[in-house]
Structure formats: C-alpha cells, structure tokens
C-alpha cells in the first residue's frame, strides 16, 4: 500500500488563539478551526513524514485513539483540507516551504 505524504500549502495563513489553531486559505478565504488532533496532524505535515507514521507516532499515542479509527479520521481530515488547497497530498515526499524551515 503506497504511503501518503502531506505538506502545508504556502498559500495559507495559520494562527493559534486560545488553544485553537485557525487556518485560512488566502486564495478563497476558506477558514477552518482545527481541533487538537487535527492541529497535531497539521503541525506534523512536513512533506517528509508519511501520514501513517504521523497517525501512529503522534495521534494514537498522544490522544489514546485506536489506530484504525485514527487513520480513518486522519484520511477524512486530509481529504477535506486538500480539497480546499490547504494541505498538499502526494504518494511521494513533498517539498514544503514549511518543511524547509
């Protein structure tokens, strides 16, 4: 099964306020507030770490979620944000401006 790599788009703005991560696409002004799990995935989206590894090493351990459930939720989250151009998704490692920092 091929790996999925995710990276934050350079066309977005993001800020943490009162414990919530807010993400906005500068192209179409779509605005998302991320919960804790989504924020952890967002922060780990460096373009190099496979999504499955992010889910297992960060989500399952930090939030005590079953791997199958966590993978399903992560896939749904990634799909939604990628449709809005907020996350970049590939089956190959990605060069992300954020990842290069």
């Amino acid at each position: 099964m091929p790996e999925t790599y995710i990276a934050r788009s350079s066309a977005i703005a993001a800020r943490m306020l009162a414990g919530e991560m807010m993400v906005m696409n500068s192209m179409d002004s779509t605005f998302f507030t991320l919960n804790e799990v989504a924020t952890a995935i967002w922060r780990a989206a460096d373009g190099r770490t496979p999504l499955r590894e992010i889910v297992h090493t960060q989500i399952c351990e930090q939030f005590d979620i079953e791997p199958e459930q966590a993978e399903r939720d992560a896939a749904e989250f990634v799909s939604e944000l990628s449709q809005h151009g907020i996350l970049l998704v590939s089956d190959q490692p990605l060069n992300s401006p954020e990842a290069a920092r």
């Binding site: 350079s10 066309a11 977005i12 703005a13 993001a14 800020r15 306020l17 009162a18 919530e20 807010m22 906005m24 500068s26 192209m27 002004s29 605005f31 507030t33």
Partner: protein, 275 residues
C-alpha cells in the same frame, strides 16, 4: 480618453492617511471635493493617485480583481483600472467619473495599506458614544443601518457601512469614513478608541453574548474588506484579527430595533470599564 488641459489637486485624508488626488478635469475635481468634503486635508500626501478619465460605461457588477503585477498592485473592475506602486506610493487610475468607482479605488488602496500596518476596513457601522467607539458588523440586513438610525442624538456617526480600524496606544481606534451605505450620509471625520465590536442579529429582545475567540476571529475575517489574493497580506490580516480579538471585546448583540438597544450598549461599556 477625455483630454485634460489643466491640473487640479486635492488631498483626501481618511484614517490619518493623506492621499493626494490629481486630475485634469474640472467636473471630476468638483465631484471629488463634494464627495469627500469632510475629509479634505491640507496635509502633505503620503500617497498619490493620478486620474485619467474614460468615457462612461455602465456601472459594473464585475468582481474586483486585485493582484500583483511586478512591483505594482493592479486593481481592475469593469469601470476602472488602477496601478499603484507601494514603494513610491504613487499610482494611476483610469476610470469613468462614476463616484462608486472612485470609492472602490480608495477602499482598495486603504485596505492594502492598512493590511501592512496592522489595521483593516470592516463591513460595519460605527459610532462614538461617551467618547468610545463601537463597531456593529453583520451580513446585509443584520441591522447596521437600523442601529445607526437608532443612535442617541449625542452619538457621532463614523459610518453606516465601512468602518476604519487602526491599532493605537489604547488598543485599536475607529475613524470616520466618507463611505456610506443606505443612510447616504458620510461619517464624521474623527476618531475614538474602540470599546467593542458587536456582531448584529435582530431578535425579540436585547442581549449581549460572548463569542469564543476562534468564532470571533472567523466572523471578523469574514467581514474584513480585502481584495488581494496575497498570502503575505492575508497572513498579516489573520495576525491582526487575532490581536484585535485579544484586546477588544467582541460580542454577539441580539437586538430588538428600538432605541433601548443603545442602553444595552452603554450598560455593556460601563460594565466593561469597571470590570
């Protein structure tokens, strides 16, 4: 193109940003002076726009496009094309004599300048009461014009349509603007520190409710006037919105449309001041 044979200049100062406007057309110059009469200034302009007039076209319903073109910003709509350089502060506008085109160009220019200076234009009415400014934002029909009409006689109207917000020593301040809505009346050219931002909803009674910070930022971003598809400036605006929400009370104001709503606003201000 309508030929120009003389030069006419004025300075329009909104939000403490003086913009020099230059035209060769007497009729258009008179329109400028009349439309912005409360905002004409003798200050030395920080920015400059030169106007070339084109033959009248129908009022445009096209969306505004604002984009980078090399070192310049390019603003385009059916009834105007403007090019402005943020480094020199100078720009040139080709438009009809339509005052709506003129307002749009000025709003876009101010929105770009404010985005880089920690301020913003907000789709909101605003007014000063007891030396403090209040913003009233919401979708069309939420009650911006209604609440402006219900303001007590001693209140000062800053605008019933487009509010002007800049950071200040007190947190943020609201300035008057000449950009009017249904009231068709320019705001007063004055400024006051902001006491609160209310998102309006009409209802059977008056009440003020807290908004979670993320919801406050989401609503604020949705109502900020900003036209450019520019990641850097949007990042600035989101940072500004977060800072604003941390410093200024942002509430939902459900109101029944009679003058008692202003008692609720004053009570809120009094409680906030003494909290």
């Amino acid at each position: 193109m309508i030929p120009a044979n003389k030069t006419l200049d004025c300075v329009v100062e909104i939000g403490d940003i003086p913009i020099g406007l230059h035209t060769g057309d007497q009729h258009f110059f008179d329109l400028l002076c009349e439309r912005y009469s409360g905002f004409l200034s003798s200050s030395r302009p920080d920015l400059q726009l030169d106007f070339d007039l084109i033959e009248p076209t129908p009022v445009s319903d096209d969306d505004v496009r604002v984009r980078r073109d090399g070192a310049d910003w390019l603003f385009e709509r059916g009834d105007f094309v403007a090019r402005w350089n943020p480094v020199t502060g100078r720009g040139r506008v080709r438009q009809t004599t339509n005052p709506y085109a003129l307002d749009s160009v000025l709003r876009i220019l101010h929105s770009l300048v404010l985005a880089s200076r920690g301020g913003f234009l907000l789709h909101a009415a605003s007014g000063i009461c007891d030396s403090r400014a209040f913003l009233f934002s919401g979708v069309s029909g939420a009650g911006k014009t209604t609440i402006s009409r219900l303001a007590p006689p001693e209140a000062t109207l800053l605008t019933d349509e487009i509010s002007y917000v800049r950071p200040s020593a007190e947190g943020y301040s609201a300035y008057g603007t000449p950009f009017s809505g249904e009231l068709a009346k320019a705001g007063e050219n004055t400024v006051a520190p902001l006491a609160a931002l209310f998102f309006l909803e009409k209802g059977p009674e008056n009440r003020v409710d807290e908004l979670p910070p993320a919801e406050a930022v989401r609503r604020l971003m949705r109502n900020i006037l900003f036209f450019a598809e520019d990641a850097g400036l949007v990042d600035n605006l989101l940072a500004t919105a977060c800072d604003f929400v941390e410093k200024i009370p942002v509430r939902r104001l459900t109101f029944y449309p009679d003058s008692r709503v202003w008692d609720e606003i004053r009570d809120f201000e009094a409680m906030s001041t003494h909290a």
